[in-house]
Subunit: 307 residues, 2 copies
């Protein structure tokens, strides 16, 4: 059965869980239909607060996500979660495993949780995750959490789709300051040291705070570090207040709108490149490429084909 | 100091280690010079046997790589290694750490080892790794080993650049058959169960072999599974004979040449898309995009800009 994009969009707008799940599957499978669905949903996209959660594996990101969901649900704020594992098709089930423990959240109509993994497909996971967030946004979720398993390339790409980025660490991650130079210091809006009762937690907080202050404000926002224990629930209030404070800052500074436009710009650019490619690679050019491939160097071929 | 591409290429062709390292750094840093260097090296690219090694983290891929290097060095075959860690900027040093233990290999002029990590850069790691292999190929390395840390998206992309792909597992990786369905069964040419003395090793070999035989030959090559212990060195002879047998198969079937052309085709296509993008995004179009961005939907903008 082929769902009608208009009908599916109508159901998604009503927050229909199965329609949302269906649309995300269509996006995951790379169906051309995805385009029509997202286009139909477009007027409804751009209202949700998108929170990205990243950090090395094993620092308690899932537990933290669950705490954040509970916090928002108490305030009757609806939540969508996209949990992405680009690191391995093997661990695709691991994230979902964490979720299954939270059965109560699964039956809450105000919560929608979805795992996405590589599943052997090459490329496009970050874009698919961003489009899945668009679907949840159009479905009326107030907050969308995008959680990743590690801190690699694809994870950083996925964080590009978030408004507020939480970077999570634990005291035993080793030389964090050194590691964070690799990119997380740049992208984080709120820094979290989880498992605050472990030795070295306070020291780690001070170290991160020191580097953040050295670096200075990023367009008007000075990042802070929070000690939490996501299992026991300690320190969460301050962190959650900070997330809300960052949301307000984004609104006041016009950054929220800028981020929305940046995502849309990237989407348009990638659609245009796709279409340019489709137009360029017609039968004649494909045949010409094959003819030149063995005899000429790459630059010679490119020059010839673009002349 | 800006190296002259022609001079650098000449030194690389002579196998000059510092020139090779220099060229790979230029590729890593995304300098436009990389293009000229690869173009100058082009006539010398395409002779090496490229071996990819992939599998979940912790299965002993580095130790296996070191054993393979020793095997080839005994036969006076020169070896280049590109060890790529796309999973995290944090573990960038880990691969290199393994190497440092192999001091004897570092001083062997017939061996060149290089680690590449994400280092916070977004995208392009697979392409950079492939181009680094091109440099080693042009430098006259007979065998080039491309080793990755995990089995994620970027790792699979990197394996695309290899002629012979080794998939490594250990008995305690859990339900491998299930996991392997995610992509590794499709790409592997030689399957390895490492730490053969662990319980379940024989069973795992049988399981993988069963699935491979169900799947049948892939274009004339029936994959086999090998029990090895890369630390103790047991079972390596059979595995290494199989790698050589796969190389001969590739040569005889014309697949070696086909793979070389496929890599070149991808390279040309990506260069062409880059150039099409550069030409398309002139000042007028960039301004038009900004004007339309707030008011129109993505599809409306794309249609308008391509009309």
């Amino acid at each position: 059965m082929k769902p009608d994009p208009a009908e599916l969009s109508r159901l998604i707008a009503q927050g229909h869980k199965r329609a949302i799940a269906r649309a995300i599957s269509i996006i995951e499978n790379g169906h051309t239909q995805a385009r029509s669905i997202l286009e139909a949903l477009h007027p409804r996209i751009g209202r949700a607060h998108r929170i990205g959660i990243t950090g090395p594996p094993g620092v308690g990101k899932s537990t933290l996500t669950n705490q954040i969901i509970k916090y928002y649900r108490k305030k009757e704020i609806s939540v969508g979660v996209i949990a992405v594992d680009p690191s391995s098709p093997f661990t695709g089930g691991a994230i979902l495993g964490d979720r299954v423990r939270m059965q109560d959240l699964f039956t809450d109509p105000g919560v929608f949780i979805r795992s996405m993994a590589t599943r052997g497909s090459l490329g496009g996971l970050a874009r698919q995750a961003s489009e899945a967030a668009d679907v949840l946004d159009a479905a009326g979720k107030d907050v969308i959490i995008m959680e990743t398993v590690g801190v690699g390339q694809v994870e950083l790409d996925i964080m590009n789709a978030a408004d507020t980025i939480l970077v999570v660490n634990v005291p035993d991650t080793g030389d964090v300051i050194q590691g964070m130079k690799a990119g997380l210091m740049e992208i984080g809006d709120v820094f979290i040291v989880n498992k605050a009762d472990l030795e070295g937690a306070e020291r780690m907080k001070t170290d991160i705070q020191f580097v953040l202050e050295l670096k200075g404000e990023t367009s008007g926002w000075q990042q802070q570090v929070f000690l939490v224990d996501s299992r026991k629930g300690t320190g969460l209030d301050d962190m959650l207040t900070e997330i809300d404070r960052h949301k307000n800052y984004l609104n006041d500074a016009g950054e929220f709108e800028l981020k929305r436009l940046r995502r849309k710009r990237e989407q348009v650019k990638s659609m245009i490149m796709e279409r340019l490619g489709d137009v360029f690679w017609n039968k004649e050019r494909s045949e010409l490429l094959e003819k030149l491939l063995e005899k000429k160097s790459p630059v010679e071929i490119v020059d010839r084909m673009l002349s």
